[in-house]
Amino acid sequence: MKTFWTARRRDTLAGYLFVAPQLAGSALFVFVPLVLVVYYSLHEWNVLAGTFSFIGFSNYSALAEDANLMPVLRATALFSVGLVAINLSLALLLAVLLNQRLRGTAFFRTVFFSPVVVSLVAWTIVWQFLLQDNGGINGALDMAGVDGPNWLRGDTTALISVIAVQTVKNVGLNMVLFLAALQGVPADLYEAARVDGASAWTRFRRITMPMISPTILLTSIITVVGSLQVFAQIAVLTQGGPGTSTTVLVYYLYQQAFQFHHFGYGATLSVLLFGIVAALTVVQWQMRRRWVFHEQ
């Protein structure tokens, strides 16, 4: 049998064995539930009455008639775009600042990263206090002579608040990844450019950006996907209000399924959410060839 177990066959077996736990786990805890969600979405499910009946695609046609859906998708888009843009640019800015030859960058690095390790619910509870009309933020603004808005009660300011709270909480992660990428850019590239008389901005655009573009791709995918999964922050800070200005898709899904007891319709929204996330990721992945350096 020695001839049967060639190095190649043994590798194949090893490969399957190595990925087996992950694959079995994904099948059981990702794909079976996903199929179940699709299955539920074809049903009217009244939890309280204990009824579960097949209704075909009615839940999907209800999507078209749901007057709340457009505002929810709008809020979701605004939130995601705002979060990704602010998070990535702030992370990059911080990384560039910390990449300067300055004393004490380690200290500031620790500071900017620290919210990442604070428990999410604790962090959100604190900001809920700070963002009150008579809370800490407006107190600080007041000292500076500015009359702060009622953050969590205005449509726009509430959305901005949620984005800001989420950004400050997590920007440290992206910052560290950018910082590592920046430090990985070979110094001689900059030297050569300097010799050629390139300005700081040109160097940043022509050398730094392309060199760290794989990191930008990765962080943007993770941040986009993460932005579509924000739940606890909304639940604690605004409960989707005022109006529906901060009701993002995940929160709406939770409301429909768990609060309004429309499990079938909630499942339909889950399918919609999954479709959006998948589509966005495919688009980002396709676009990488256009601008990610290593892929060219």
Partner: protein, 276 residues
């Protein structure tokens, strides 16, 4: 660098640091204030007469020490389990050629795209069918094997991709099998990536909110984030000072560990191979 630019940079860094530090500072100091002072205008930087009464209440109102233990042990088990599962499959996807590897990797990656809210109802049904509701099993097994571990697998794969092939070739010539190569050569080199994975995973488990709410119903089994929202009187009115004390208690130890180990912490994350 000119000294003027230096001053500007320091100024900028200091101003930007405020929103990162102040909330934590405020949380800890306010937890020692009476309720009336928490809402005082303008907010005070220090409590007028610091009191730890609310901290005592944290432990009398709920089995908080037990809940702390729950969160800690769940997070540790999840972290170790995830490191095992993710490093194995990450290694295989990066280093072993076997039919269907790429397709399987893509299949696994889709797990990254599925918010836990999407699958929580079916998961609840499944664990219920197995009689595991109101146990810690769902909070341990799903993160290790399900969607949350996919990011870890991804990080591990990206890291193993960057390892020079020559190292393994040497091991192969010495007659080592795949597992031995993985265990003795690749894994020890993967310490930074493992560090990153362990941090990600620990924090993810430590922060879980929706899952414990759905799966657990006995206070002795609660985890910390869930316990934090429980400090309300019988009619749902929040007990602010107690809530802030409990929040501080969940944050401070992790912050201390972080500050002590911040170098390993951040550099571990930085060298994950997420660079490319």
């Amino acid at each position: 660098m000119s000294s003027r630019l230096r001053v500007v940079l320091y100024g900028l860094l200091c101003v930007m640091a405020v929103p990162f530090v102040f909330p934590t500072w405020w949380m800890i100091t306010s937890s020692m204030k009476p309720v009336s002072e928490i809402f005082a205008w303008p907010p005070a930087l220090f409590p007028a007469s610091p009191s730890l009464d609310a901290y005592r209440d944290v432990f009398t109102l709920q089995p908080f020490a037990q809940q702390y233990l729950n969160s800690a042990y769940i997070a540790i088990v999840v972290t170790i389990g995830t490191m095992a599962v993710a490093s194995l499959s990450g290694y295989a996807f990066a280093r072993i050629r076997f039919p269907g590897a790429n397709a399987l990797f893509l299949v696994v990656l889709t797990g990254l795209l599925i918010p836990s809210e999407v699958t929580i109802v079916p998961l609840f049904q499944m664990f219920n069918a197995w009689g595991l509701i109101d146990t810690h099993w769902p909070l341990i097994v799903v993160p290790i094997l399900g969607a949350p571990s996919v990011l870890a697998t991804f990080i591990m794969r990206q890291f193993f991709l960057t390892l020079p092939v020559e190292l393994e070739e040497a091991g192969r010539l010495d007659g080592l099998g795949r597992f031995a190569i993985f265990w003795r050569i690749a894994l020890p080199l993967a310490r930074p990536a493992l560090g990153a994975v362990s941090i990600f995973t620990f924090l993810h488990s430590w922060n879980l909110y929706l899952e414990p709410i759905v799966f657990l119903s006995t206070p002795e089994k609660f985890t910390l984030p869930q316990a934090l929202t429980q400090f309300v009187d019988a009619y749902g009115g929040p007990m602010w000072d107690v809530q802030l004390s409990a929040a501080s208690l969940t944050a401070i130890p992790v912050l201390i560990v972080f500050v002590i180990a911040q170098r390993q912490f951040i550099e571990g994350l930085a060298h994950t191979g997420l660079k490319g």
